[in-house]
């Protein structure tokens, strides 16, 4: 039995968003580790640096340590190996749990539980790692500076305190096994069963397709919207039970989604608003490692567990089951390839060491005080305590080892002939993941495993599938049934799904042909080609580049200058003056003179000038965008370039538009209300609606729908005081109308004679012209 083996390394990043991703800020592992050290007291940092000893390059230790110095010291693998060599078994087991799960952080409660299950007293093991700076304790922000580790570990809620590891440490350690010895099953084992290990690969592939077809939206708290959550939960392929399993586990869709997230097949978008399918390249980059990646992801999975199902009835961070998984597999890794253990004996062994291991909550675990010390019950545990927690223990073991580890291909199962008890051992994949064996051998080749039917249904035999082929097929054929029989469907949508991910029709046909038992039906070949061609009928450019030339001649000259590239789509002429360019890196800028550039992600610019008449608008050619033409066409008409309006000739290159009653009427009929027009003028001209346009608008409202004109007699006096006199004097005031200016006042025609008489009485003569 190897007591120390290097863990296989997984190519995926350390942290992947889960279905309910945690906030990502500051979670880069090295940065988070350094930040946790940054909350230590200076004297504590100095003590750690001193305990670490001189660096491999022999530089003297500075008297006062710093978080940076400790972090940098651990960057060197030789430094880490030197420190690990000084560790007791318990501490090395703790580091092994980080390596096994590829986790960069454990809660104190979770790590303690796992350590107790592998017969290690947690506190001394963890404190030793903290003393050497291999782990950094990261209590909640309310806690003060960290000094005495044992105080932090014992006084603060251990479910809320994280233990962060420097990312270089797990890579430099070798796996350590528990020191205890399990009771081996007797006799030759019968009815040995081992799954094909493809279940996880197939299901995460189906998740990838579904999320690829329609991303999952999530709230700012990282919870899926109900519609999207239902879409996953109710999907028949994701929800269907596992065909080759020995125990049922709940909420399978959540398991597959969580695994797909952890391995990186599903990614969170930059805004944290959606979960997206990873690019197709994920499959080619990871197809050989995927079963191992899924196994590691499952070992570290906390969003879902075998007995509760995604923490719906329990606070996720307090569920204990996730921490049991790596500990249980570590126990199985103490068996060699010919040895088996019955679930009953394994349960008895664990219960003899620590009866409280069956508690499902970390909270309960932390309150547990009555337990035997490490090694207290070590040894043979054939004598069972049947009145104790055994039935619950068995159900936990069955759920973890038979419910998930078995279908994921980590565990094989059999029957002990003498007792008819279920026995288990690690499979080749399990031994590889636990660093207890070599890489599992490739599956036997079974080339023609597809049956492509003329109705576009494809039956796949599991014997012929490999993770690589699952990836290939998932790109363009829709998983419609995953069970003992596998079924895929070819449809226009599935072919387009593949085309969107860079697959070519010939590649799809070649894949189907190579693995099909019979030649492909003509209808299938034609349909795939037809669906691919139909996709070219409508092309949507989400963010392309349009080049605008002064005239068609210039545009055609530029087209002639275009470099030929095999992989680049050629530019597409649009109308007379434009070229549509899919990839602007191919633009021959050296032969062009860039007049201006407009980025349509930015808000519209002011690019329209209002001329003095208020109804003529001139476009600034340098700042105008393509949208403004369309906007203007709603309520204005273009003027010929040589035209002059009200005596103003247009400048060279400028284009002009005229707002007329008819054009404005057209705009209003298309929903261009005065409010929207006002908003447009502000946005595009930087000013208000011109008065002349307001006049045109007013003509369409009751405000001035019908105007009135009348003759008016104007009385102009030598000075304003005389007008005031007329307006004040009781003999004349009644005959005056509106004052028109400082010295003028209107006189209603019917009052003219009366005013003349009144003025005559006052001695003033009023002549009328």
């Amino acid at each position: 039995m190897p007591q120390g083996s290097q863990l296989p390394t997984s190519p995926r990043p350390d942290e992947r968003p889960g279905p309910s991703p945690q906030p990502a800020a500051g979670h880069e592992p090295r940065h988070a580790f350094r930040a946790a050290l940054g909350r230590y007291k200076g004297t504590r940092l100095g003590a750690i640096r001193l305990a670490q000893g001189a660096s491999p390059d022999g530089l003297r230790i500075r008297p006062s340590g710093s978080a940076d110095e400790i972090t940098e010291h651990l960057d060197a693998p030789a430094s880490v190996q030197g420190l690990v060599a000084r560790l007791p078994v318990g501490s090395r087991l703790a580091l092994g749990l980080y390596g096994l799960t590829e986790a960069t952080s454990f809660s104190v409660a979770g790590l303690s539980l796992a350590l107790r299950v592998v017969e290690t007293e947690p506190l001394p093991a963890i404190v030793k790692l903290l003393d050497l700076g291999l782990l950094a304790v990261d209590p909640d922000s309310a806690s003060g500076p960290v000094d005495e580790f044992s105080e932090v570990l014992e006084l603060v809620d251990p479910t809320r305190v994280s233990l962060r590891i420097h990312p270089a440490v797990p890579k430099a350690i070798r796996m350590t096994r528990p020191e205890g010895e399990l009771l081996k099953a007797a006799g030759p084992i019968s009815q040995i069963r081992e799954s094909d290990g493809l279940e996880g690969v197939l299901r995460v592939a189906a998740v990838w397709q579904r999320v690829g077809a329609e991303p999952l939206r999530q709230t700012q708290q990282g919870v899926l919207y109900k519609r999207d959550s239902d879409r996953i939960d109710l999907d028949p392929v994701l929800a269907s039970p596992i065909a080759d399993t020995l125990a049922a586990v709940p909420d399978l869709p959540s398991l597959w989604l969580a695994l797909a997230c952890r391995v990186g097949l599903i990614e969170q978008d930059a805004e944290g608003e959606r979960l997206l399918a990873a690019p197709w390249e994920f499959w080619t980059e990871n197809e050989f490692h995927l079963p191992q990646m899924i196994a590691t992801a499952w070992l570290a999975l906390k969003d879902w567990h075998e007995l509760q199902g995604e923490g719906r009835t329990e606070i996720e961070s307090e569920a204990a089951v996730p921490y049991l998984r790596p500990a249980l597999l570590l126990w199985l890794s103490t068996l060699d390839e010919s040895e088996w253990v019955s679930l009953e004996d394994l349960a008895d062994h664990l219960s003899a060491q620590w009866p409280a291991w069956v508690r499902l909550s970390l909270k309960a675990e932390t309150e547990e005080t009555s337990r035997p010390g490490p090694g207290g019950g070590r040894g043979r545990a054939r004598a069972r305590n049947d009145s104790g927690p055994r039935p619950k223990a068995l159900s936990i073991l069955e759920a973890i080892l038979l419910g998930t580890a078995y279908p994921l291909g980590l565990v094989r199962a059999g029957i002990e002939p003498t007792t008819q008890r279920r026995v288990v051992q690690l499979s080749a994949l399990g031994r590889y993941v636990l660093a207890a064996g070599a890489s599992p051998p490739p599956r036997p080749a079974f080339e023609h495993f597809l049956f492509v039917q003329p109705n576009f249904e494809v039956i796949a035999y599991r014997q012929g599938l490999t993770p690589q082929l699952v990836g290939r097929l998932s790109r363009f054929a829709w998983w419609s049934q995953i069970g003992s029989a596998l079924e895929l469907k070819l449809s226009r949508e599935s072919i387009v799904f593949g085309l969107d991910r860079g697959a070519k029709p010939n590649w799809m046909l070649e894949t189907l042909t190579r693995h099909s038992q019979r030649p492909l039906a003509r209808g299938v070949v034609d349909a795939i080609n037809d669906w691919a061609q139909r996709r070219e009928r409508v092309i949507f450019y989400a963010a392309t580049t349009l080049m605008e030339f002064g005239n068609e001649t210039d545009r055609n000259r530029a087209l002639e200058l275009w470099p030929e590239g095999e992989d680049e789509a050629p530019p597409v002429p649009v109308a007379e003056r434009f070229l549509l360019v899919e990839n602007d890196r191919a633009v021959p800028y050296s032969r062009l003179r860039l007049m201006s550039s407009r980025d349509y992600r930015r808000p519209p610019e002011i690019c329209v000038a209002v001329e003095r008449d208020g109804v003529t608008l001139t476009l600034d050619p340098a700042r105008a965008d393509l949208l403004v033409d369309a906007e203007l066409s709603h309520f204005a008409d273009p003027l010929p370039s040589s035209d002059t309006v009200h005596g103003h000739a247009s400048a060279r290159g400028e284009r002009r538009f005229l707002i007329s009653s008819a054009s404005l009427e057209r705009g209003i009929s298309r929903g261009k209300s005065p409010e929207r027009l006002s908003e447009w003028f502000e946005r595009r001209t930087g000013g208000e609606i011109p008065a002349s346009v307001q006049l045109l608008l007013g003509a369409r409202t009751s405000r001035c729908a019908r105007l009135k004109a009348a003759r008016m007699v104007v009385l102009t006096l030598p000075g304003p005081e005389l007008v005031e006199g007329l307006r004040q004097h009781p003999a004349t005031t009644a005959f005056l109308g509106e004052r028109l200016g400082p010295s003028s006042v209107a006189v209603p025609e019917q009052h003219l004679a009366a005013l003349q008489d009144a003025l005559k009485e006052l001695g003033i003569a009023l002549d009328v012209e």
Partner: protein
């Protein structure tokens, strides 16, 4: 410098959202759909429609709803 060798003046429009069809009648068909036409802010040619920026997903969804399977270029770009 000869005029034929002079650099050609050009204006760049970057990150433009467009729909291009193989046939003009297809573009007409799209414009005839009110649910889609509301996102179309202009027509650059018989087969090229200018689409309101920032509405890509809605337009793609609508195109699919209308039974098309558009090739999508540069989504998210």
């Amino acid at each position: 410098m000869k005029s034929s060798q002079a650099r050609i003046p050009v204006k760049l429009h970057k990150h433009v959202t467009l729909v291009r069809t193989t046939e003009a009648v297809l573009a007409e068909e799209l414009l005839a759909r009110k649910s889609l036409a509301r996102w179309v802010v202009g027509r650059l040619s018989d087969t090229v429609l200018l689409v309101q920026h920032g509405e890509s997903e809605l337009v793609i969804e609508e195109l699919r709803r209308l039974g098309h399977t558009p090739r999508i270029v540069g989504q998210g770009g």
